[in-house]
C-alpha cells in the first residue's frame, strides 16, 4: 500500500503488462515511469530512483477487520480463486512473512516463526522494535518499542482469562503494563493510554521476497 503523491504531484497508475522477477510492474500515467509494485520504487523513466511512501496496512480476516471498523467500506467485485486469489490459514503460515523496513534495509519475519514466537523483540537498523503476530487471524504487525525515552521489552499473553474480549495481548517487562498486541495500544498499567508507533511493513510471499532480497535478513525457524 503506497501513497500516490510524490513531490506534490498525484500519480495514477496502470498495469504495464510486464513481470519482473515474477512480480508485476506498474507505470504512472503522468510520466510513464516504470514502478515495482512490490517495493514502490521506480526502476526506469523520468522518476527513476524515486520511492513511493509506504502506508501501513494489514491483512486479516474480514471478521476481525469489520469488528474493529464497523463502518468500513468494502470493495466488492468478481472473485478469483487460486494462488493469487485466496489462501487458507495454513497456506498463509507457510507461505508469508512480514517484511519490515523500507528500501533495501528490510527484514523478513516468516509467519512460521512468528506462529511459534508471536511477540518478538528485535532491532532493525539499530532501532528497537517488536514484531507481533495474531495466531488466530494469521497476520503480523511491527511497532517501535522505544517509547518516550524508555526501551520496552514485551512478552506474549493470551487474552484475558474469562473475558469476552479475545484480542491477543502482550505485557512489557519494565512496567508490567498490558498492551493490545495487534494495535499497540496500552490498555492497563502505568503506561495506560500510550500508543506504540507502527513501523512500515508489508506482508510478502516468502519466495517473491527472496527474488528481490536474496541474501537479505530472512528470519525463520529453519535457519536456527
Amino acid at each position: 500500500m503506497y501513497g500516490r503523491t510524490l513531490d506534490g504531484q498525484v500519480l495514477n497508475f496502470g498495469h504495464e503488462g510486464v513481470l519482473y522477477r515474477n512480480s508485476f510492474v506498474m507505470y504512472d500515467k503522468e510520466t510513464n515511469s516504470k514502478w515495482l509494485h512490490v517495493t514502490g520504487e521506480a526502476l526506469k523513466g523520468e522518476l527513476k530512483g524515486k520511492k513511493l511512501g509506504i502506508i501501513p496496512s494489514q491483512i486479516m480476516p474480514y471478521r476481525t477487520w469489520k469488528k474493529r471498523h464497523p463502518d468500513t467500506g468494502v470493495l466488492l467485485g468478481e472473485k478469483v480463486s487460486g494462488m493469487m486469489g485466496t489462501f487458507t490459514l495454513k497456506d498463509r503460515i507457510s507461505s508469508f512473512g512480514l517484511s519490515v523496513g523500507e528500501g533495501r534495509n528490510v527484514t523478513l519475519f516468516r509467519f512460521s516463526l512468528l506462529n511459534r514466537l508471536p511477540v518478538l523483540d528485535t532491532t532493525l537498523a539499530d532501532a528497537p522494535l517488536v514484531v507481533c503476530f495474531d495466531q488466530t487471524a494469521i497476520y503480523a504487525v511491527a511497532f517501535r518499542s522505544h517509547l518516550s525515552g524508555r526501551q520496552l521489552h514485551f512478552s506474549a499473553l493470551s487474552s484475558v482469562p474469562d473475558a469476552e474480549d479475545t484480542r491477543p495481548l502482550m505485557r512489557d517487562a519494565e512496567t508490567g503494563s498490558l498492551w493490545l498486541r495487534m494495535t499497540g495500544e496500552c490498555l492497563a498499567g502505568e503506561l495506560k493510554g500510550s500508543q506504540l508507533e507502527q513501523v512500515p511493513a508489508t506482508a510478502w510471499l516468502g519466495n517473491r521476497w527472496m527474488a528481490f532480497f536474496e541474501g537479505g535478513r530472512d528470519v525463520q525457524l529453519e535457519k536456527l
Binding site: F13, K44, P61, L76, R104, E214, G215, L224
Partner: protein, 110 residues
C-alpha cells in the same frame, strides 16, 4: 513441544543470526538497476490489458452482507479517519487500485 531451556536457546540464537548486509547491498543494487530490469523483464500482455480499478465504489458492511466470507483475508486500510477493506479474492483479479482514503491518494497493490 520445546522444553523451556530449548526455547531460551532458540530465542538467544535468533539474535545471533548473521546478517549479510554488504552482500545484500551489492546484489540488490543490481536487482534494482534499470539495466537488469531491461534484461530480465518479460512483457506478458499489453499495457492496461490487465484490469486496474480507479476510485471504485465501496459497499457498506450491510451492503456487502454475505458476499465476503467472514474468514476471508482482506487488506485493511485505516487512513484519515476512514476504513477500507480490499478482499484478497477480489484483488487477485485486479492487482491494482488507484483510490483515495481519508482524502489521501493511495495505490493498493496485490
Amino acid at each position: 513441544m520445546l522444553h523451556l531451556s530449548q526455547m531460551r536457546l532458540l530465542v538467544t540464537t535468533l539474535f545471533l543470526i548473521p546478517v549479510c548486509v554488504t552482500g545484500l547491498s551489492a546484489q540488490a543494487d543490481e536487482i534494482f538497476s534499470e539495466a537488469n530490469y531491461d534484461k530480465e523483464m518479460r512483457q506478458v500482455m499489453e499495457p492496461d490489458q490487465f484490469p486496474v480499478l480507479h476510485h471504485p465504489p465501496m459497499a457498506t458492511v450491510m451492503e456487502a452482507g454475505l458476499e465476503i466470507d467472514l474468514d476471508e483475508p482482506v487488506i485493511g486500510l485505516f487512513l484519515g479517519g476512514e476504513a477500507r477493506a480490499y478482499p484478497i479474492s477480489v484483488m487477485g483479479g485486479v492487482e491494482l487500485v488507484n483510490d483515495t482514503c481519508g482524502e489521501i491518494p493511495v495505490a493498493v497493490s496485490w
